[in-house]
């Protein structure tokens, strides 16, 4: 996004404005920049290294879930179960550690739990033929119910170890950088690479854009969709490992409502619910937007009760802005801009 401004230093301001307005998710970035500028002026504690690493640490969970959600959205599905799966995986880690398993095997079980639930989601959708929405909605209820039954309503606790403290980012061995931030960056790079270079990435976009065309060109559509849900489940498992460490207790309500934030982040970042569109960097932009807004209202001293209103408004604003820019783009495609004003502006 930065290269856009430098590369077009010679073009007129009008063209720059048009480019900003018509670029996907440019509106959201604009909102983010304006918010940051305003907050930097209003509060001295906003534009500090401390605060930005704080934001980075907070956005890890939503970011991981949004990455998985982006892949599911690309193949044209939706995964409502991620919040519950995150909670259940957190429960798996806590229980395994209390049971006496090593940290590594506890993490492995949590990832396995996430991947397994993703697999069930994928099979219900592709083999049984349930709508994505219904299958993952049912899984949302089932996974949450399992965690409630398992914990019997009482949080798991007392499983933290010094190593786990470091992994969860409670201890900072490398200055500001914490392990969750490193994990999140690695996950973003991995998903970006898979979407861009791996055959699965191409197949995912093809499946989401046109299922029939994808099937006819020899793509195993069912396998691509199942794999997308497995990846989403794995991401939820990973987020579960990190949140179990961060909160140091696993309440039966751990992760409630995260599916909404994950969908919001993915969509704010430009993923389309109709499928075929979405990028890893979009998930970052979306998660960042949500987290920075939360952070800003906290710093501005707005009561925490306004949290939901703000999240919803940001989401609504982002999609409306995205839609308006799309409409402008369509209009400029129908009526090619006359060359005279651009020329006149360049000579002026």
């Amino acid at each position: 996004m930065a290269d856009m401004a430098t590369a077009r230093a010679t073009v007129s301001p009008r063209q720059v404005l048009q480019a900003v307005v018509t670029r996907p998710s440019a509106g959201v970035l604009l909102l983010l920049v304006v918010l940051c500028v305003v907050m930097s002026v209003v509060s001295s504690s906003f534009l500090t290294v401390d605060n930005w690493f704080n934001i980075a640490n907070q956005m890890v969970f939503v970011l991981l879930l949004a990455l998985g959600m982006t892949i599911v959205l690309i193949v044209g599905g939706i995964d409502l179960s991620v919040g519950s799966v995150m909670g259940l995986s957190a429960g798996v880690v806590a229980y395994s550690l209390n049971f006496g398993f090593t940290l590594a095997s506890a993490f492995f079980f949590a990832l396995l739990c996430g991947a397994f639930i993703g697999l069930i989601n994928g099979l219900m959708i592709t083999k049984v033929g349930l709508p994505d929405f219904i299958a993952t909605l049912a899984m949302l209820g089932v996974a949450r119910g399992l965690l409630f039954l398992w914990t019997n309503g009482v949080p798991f606790l007392g499983y933290m170890t010094p190593t786990y403290n470091t992994i969860a980012g409670l201890e900072r061995p490398f200055g500001y950088l914490t392990v969750p931030i490193i994990v999140a960056v690695a996950a973003v790079l991995a998903v970006a690479a898979v979407l861009k270079f791996a055959p699965f990435g191409r197949h995912a976009y093809a499946t989401g854009s046109n299922v029939d065309a994808a099937r006819l060109s020899g793509i195993s559509v069912a396998r691509v969709r199942i794999l997308a849900y497995v990846i989403s489940g794995l991401m939820a498992g990973l987020a579960g490992i990190l949140i179990a460490g961060r909160t140091t207790t696993v309440a039966p309500t751990t992760g409630v409502g995260y599916e909404v934030q994950a969908i919001a982040a993915a969509v704010i970042g430009g993923a389309a619910l109709a499928g075929g569109r979405g990028r890893a960097i979009g998930a970052v932009i979306g998660a960042l937007t949500l987290t920075v807004t939360t952070n800003a209202i906290n710093i501005a001293g707005v009561s925490g009760t306004w949290q939901l209103v703000v999240t919803g408004s940001v989401l609504l604003f982002a999609v409306v802005l995205d839609r308006v820019s799309e409409m402008l783009r369509e209009r400029s495609r129908h009526i090619p801009p006359p060359p005279v004003p651009a020329h006149a502006a360049a000579t002026a």
């Binding site: 049984v128 709508p131 119910g145 039954l149 919803g312 989401l315």
Partner: protein
């Protein structure tokens, strides 16, 4: 008509499956618990299910046109709060009810205007208004005292009975009857189905699909608002988080009743049956002494089972209805076409 054809047609009747399953669980609970089929217990069951039934009925109209309305859950809570707040401050009963319904109309209008006017994805828009509505309720509940009103005309909406039936149940029945009538017997209803089956074709046939979509969101919002009013009358108190999850239960109820998320298929009474099924299930399990922690699992599993079962039944009925070997063809060809037909019904499931 052979017995086989008759069976196939019986299976094809939409809603037959959920109706049968509903009767089965009612019989099961009645057999396992002596108090299940008593007047008091049934009365509780219906009073409890009024809000969710109304929300499911409104949701059905949105689903049939091919949309979705996730905001209804927070509309129920928010409308309950605005109504209670108005009545606490001494406004007349009718004004309080109108304010509650008006809250729903307002949210429905925001949804409809953005979805139909700007053509933004309905799922995301209503997800955002769900969040905003739930947040508004939280703000309202923390900044004001929603303690409830003196028992009177408002609480009487639920507690008073006519011929032994609670008023709220009667009101809900009337609303459902009107909605069913509108959907099935009016030209407005037919355009809803037409737009849900094929929006483009409906548009070409002269239906203003945009206005129609605005109208169904207004409808869904106002019905959810009214459900909130009745819920406030039943509980006479409002906490933050009231009504959360209603949207999912309502969608589950509609889908259980055979309403298609893809639009164009469904009816109000079947969604109501689906909602009654879910409420009966949870109440029945409660009577049997099942740990309430099981409810989320049982509900989720029953949704999957019901939809999968419905698919299987439709497929079975479809294969039963296939004409058997055409007499003009040699048997070898007939066998081949039989094999290819068996494959055919599984194709649309990818849609």
């Amino acid at each position: 008509m052979s017995a086989r054809d008759r069976l196939a047609r019986a299976l094809m009747v939409e809603g037959a499956v959920v109706a049968v399953v509903f009767v089965v669980i009612v019989v099961f609970f009645a057999a396992s618990s002596p108090v299940f089929l008593t007047a008091g217990s049934l009365r509780d069951l219906f009073v409890e299910s009024v809000p969710i039934i109304l929300v499911a009925a409104g949701m059905t109209c949105v689903l049939v046109v091919g949309g979705i309305d996730l905001s209804v859950g927070s509309v129920v809570g928010l409308s309950a709060a605005t109504t209670l707040l108005s009545l606490q401050n001494g406004l007349p009963l009718l004004v309080g009810i109108l304010i509650g319904v008006g809250t729903g109309v307002l949210v429905g209008f925001i949804n409809g205007a953005i979805i139909a006017g700007l053509q933004v994805n309905d799922f995301i828009v209503t997800l955002a208004t769900l969040s905003i509505g739930a947040g508004a309720l939280q703000v309202l509940a923390t900044n004001t005292q929603l303690t409830g009103v003196e028992p009177g005309a408002f609480t009487g909406l639920t507690s008073n009975s006519i011929l032994g039936i609670p008023q709220s149940v009667l009101i809900a029945a009337v609303v459902i009857g009107v909605l069913e009538f509108v959907l099935v017997a009016t030209s407005f209803g037919r355009t809803i189905y037409a737009a849900g089956i094929n929006g483009r074709a409906a548009h070409l046939a002269g239906v203003s699909v945009r206005r129609l979509r605005l109208q169904v969101y207004l409808l869904s919002g106002s019905v959810a608002g009214f459900a909130g009013v009745l819920l406030a009358s039943h509980l006479n108190s409002v906490q933050p988080g009231l009504g959360s999850g209603y949207e999912l239960t309502a969608i589950a109820a509609a889908v259980l009743g055979g309403v298609s998320l893809a639009g164009g298929r469904g009816s109000v009474w079947r969604a109501v049956l689906g909602a009654l099924f879910l409420v009966t299930l949870s109440q029945g399990l409660q009577l049997l002494g099942v740990d309430p922690l099981w409810f989320a699992i049982v509900t989720g599993a029953s949704i999957v089972a019901a939809v999968a079962f419905d698919r299987a039944i439709q497929r079975l009925a479809g294969s039963l209805l296939q004409p058997r070997k055409p007499p003009t063809r040699p048997p070898a060809d007939g066998d081949e076409s039989e094999a290819s037909r068996a494959e055919a019904p599984s194709l649309p499931t990818q849609a």
